[in-house]
Symmetry: C2
Subunit: 173 residues, 2 copies
Amino acid sequence: MAIQEFYPDDVAHCYGCGRLNPHGLHIRSTWDGDETVAFLTPGEYHTAMPGYVYGGLIASLVDCHGTGSAALAAYRACGREPGSSPPLRFVTASLKVDYLRPTPMGIPLEARGRIKEVKPRKVVVDIEILAGGEVCARGNVVAVLMPEHMASGGSVQPSPPLGQQEPKPSGLR
Amino acid sequence: MAIQEFYPDDVAHCYGCGRLNPHGLHIRSTWDGDETVAFLTPGEYHTAMPGYVYGGLIASLVDCHGTGSAALAAYRACGREPGSSPPLRFVTASLKVDYLRPTPMGIPLEARGRIKEVKPRKVVVDIEILAGGEVCARGNVVAVLMPEHMASGGSVQPSPPLGQQEPKPSGLR
């Protein structure tokens, strides 16, 4: 299952990756060894020029695969399974994309993430976007734990820093 | 008229700003003094979380307003009106967005561009994204003249560097 399947309902409406957004792109991020991976097939209208993929769509793939990869990395860093409580939901603080060559339409795009840094409230991810095995763009995402006030349903509580998520047995403090 | 109205037909299908893309966002960039400006009202499904605008949409606005601003600046730099020949069409080489605060839904976004650098084949633009007058994101776009092979209809010819667009009167060379 992709990490986005575990996002709490009140924060699962992202246009890029929310499973509850019927108009969205439904980007889904999983582990593949020590890398993360997501696939996206552009719609025929997602063009830059005829024949080439729109750069804003590539940025969206970098964005959502970045925050998804950050959540995957954060759960792994604190030894928890996605779906365990409290939920870890990241948002993008900054996004960078270098477009290396025009990205051809008509084939699925593959996003591959490498986790560069995992801190208590911040994860940095490098992402390559490939089409037909060729790297077309390189991205970088700085993702931060979502501020609790952004979750309308209260699902996201103030989180302790990563690594302090497991309550210690009483008497050991 | 916005610069995107002058893009030749064969390079006017961009999902973000192409006037010939019926499914697109139709971002339109104009001068406002020495700055450039574009407006975009997100669809109700363009959410990050309920109540807040999707970061990938903001990146798309930065992207297309960046290339539009680059074209505006390039025409101005060589003293030509948009629509004069040869057409100047830019694409994004790199894109950076810093998300400063969650961007509220339900109001038009305003993108304001400042031209930082104009070189023969490269223009750099800083862009602020505002909602209700408050800066929510800051972007930077490095735009480059579109490679001619990207234009399916042959509208984009190999361009001389900016400033050498006007043929010199014979006898003065």
